[in-house]
Symmetry: C2
Subunit: 339 residues, 2 copies
């Protein structure tokens, strides 16, 4: 059975998205990438390639199947209905319809089985908000696309993955002062359940081991420096273990991420953004992958933003997108072999 290609979204065309898309295609053989199809604008990618001095052929394709076939010879592009203008470094609200169309089509194609997975290039929320976008972020928009009309979107979970370390922050983009109040046993339990299920079903880990960090220094040292471990984290772990989910901890966060410790678990559940992001970006800054768990389709993304400041300068690194596309291929193959 042949693999369906990955649907790669446009992202903000004024950021580094077009450049890293072109560079990822150029690296397809060296990096062992499965076919992907860019959902965007042929002229815009062609113009980006020329501006960057990259000799990369771009081919309009009619569907994902044709994209898979042509991938070896050219960057296959499935054209959008909405127009794209790409002045690097100058985000333009006029691109919002094309940016959103690209994401919606990637989800539709993936849910229909024509694409194996959604890979997203970075977007800038501010440019979308000006055009009427009302979701808190990329992931929430994707979750809304996973829901039937009128239905609540499924709970999504952000994992940052690299070879050797996968981390999941339980709370994410909130002020540090708001973290203790946002942390509940239910939130930890729900998050761990999704991580456990997706590690099994999407990553093919037969017996996932989840290590849970404490919130406080030394995991609170038996209540001497904060009681959230006693009141919230430990009861969540007990509930999960009673349900047969292999969770361990709460561990002092500073001793969880060195090489010997990392070998002991499949994912680390962290209580807040930097507790999760500091260790993975310390050891895998260029090739971390943002994976969205909990949705009825697979979504991977590079672990960086639009980088408007360096767009069009020819210095953007495609490492993280390449890592995302490799992981997407691997998880899609895993899903096929399990089916």
């Amino acid at each position: 059975m042949n693999a369906a290609p990955i649907a790669l979204t446009l992202g903000d065309p004024c950021g580094i998205g077009p450049e890293i898309t072109l560079r990822a295609w150029a690296a397809r053989n060296a990096a062992g990438l499965s076919p992907f199809v860019a959902l965007g604008d042929v002229a815009a990618y062609t113009q980006s390639a020329q501006a960057l001095g990259l000799d990369i052929p771009v081919a309009a394709v009619a569907d994902m199947g044709e994209g898979a076939t042509r991938f070896a010879q050219a960057l296959p592009v499935l054209p959008l209905r909405n127009a794209v203008s790409n002045r690097p470094g100058h985000p333009d609200p006029a691109n919002a319809p094309a940016i959103l169309e690209s994401i919606e089509r990637a989800v539709t194609l993936t849910r229909a089985g024509e694409a194996s997975c959604v890979a997203t290039c970075p977007i800038a929320k501010s440019a979308l908000y000006e055009a009427g976008f009302r979701h808190p972020g990329h992931t929430e928009f994707l979750a809304s696309l996973a829901a039937a009309p009128g239905e609540a979107p499924p709970r999504s979970v952000m994992m940052i993955w690299s070879e050797g370390l996968a981390v999941v922050p339980v709370t994410i983009h909130i002020a540090l002062a708001d973290v203790p109040g946002a942390l509940t046993r239910e939130l930890i339990v729900e998050t761990a359940r999704i991580v456990d299920r997706d590690l099994r079903e999407r990553f093919g880990v037969s017996s996932p081991r989840i290590a849970v960090a404490g919130l406080n220094p030394h995991a609170g040292e038996a209540g001497a420096m904060g009681r959230e471990e006693i009141a919230i984290v430990a009861p969540a772990i007990a509930e999960l273990r009673a349900a047969g989910i292999d969770t361990r901890g709460p561990f002092p966060a500073d001793t969880m991420f060195h090489a010997r410790a990392r070998a002991g678990y499949d994912a680390a559940l962290c209580m807040y953004h930097d507790q999760a992001l500091i260790p993975i970006k310390t050891i895998a800054f260029d090739d971390g992958v943002n994976v969205t768990l909990g949705l009825p389709f697979l979504r991977v993304s590079p672990d960086h933003g639009t980088a408007f400041d360096i767009a069009g300068k020819g210095i953007a690194r495609a490492d993280s997108l390449i890592a995302a596309l490799r992981l997407g291929s691997r998880l899609a193959a895993q899903a096929r072999s399990a089916a």
Copy 2:
């Protein structure tokens, strides 16, 4: 000019202190260690060596000079007045007088120039509290020894150092929920001033570069996720820069610690314990060194505790103590060359 030896304290003799002291001495040539003298009990070290099957001669010495001379042939021990009993894994309040005497003598010898530096083995506060110890920790006790009678102790600053990364937490052993309230511009400024001065005077860095982390995810993203960067951290940096101290930031903490970022500064000033300890323990778990800045003498320490659970089992790693002794030698040599 010959270097004075390092004064190495007893620490809790029921923890791994005696074992790592013996192992550090055994590694003295391979690790290129300068002479150190253990301030403890000859019989206790001898008994530890025998119990661990280590063929290490232990020699009582009358003073630091004799210790330096005999270091090549035996572990030199300057005996204490107070008795030491060392049942591994069973802390005993009866050891408190010897533990404290060892620390006090190390400070006295270092301040008198007979020792180049204080290196401390780990202590357990609970065993000392039972014996009437009234300081919040090891470092505060050392600071009190640096003050004249009736004088307030100098402000000490904890740095965790390894080759390639040095971190300083501005707040340390407090609950995460208490961090935002404890963070002030004054605290950041005072801490950075001590770090800057000691990097110059003790580490020989002629133009120290200090990178300052934000408190919130993405350093608050211009106030969208917390305002401490705007209200506290950025003003502290401005004040420091106006005073000629090269501080930069506030930076998003998750992007500060990868290899390319680390090359851009000499020390990272972090807002809380785990923000500092997670990155350094992720990359230098075994050989991080705890250095106390701000005191009128140099103090280094391994970056771990008494480890009562593995004491006497022959499995304790001396890497961190060895790294501490190496750094102590290096900083003492630096101080001599600057004098």
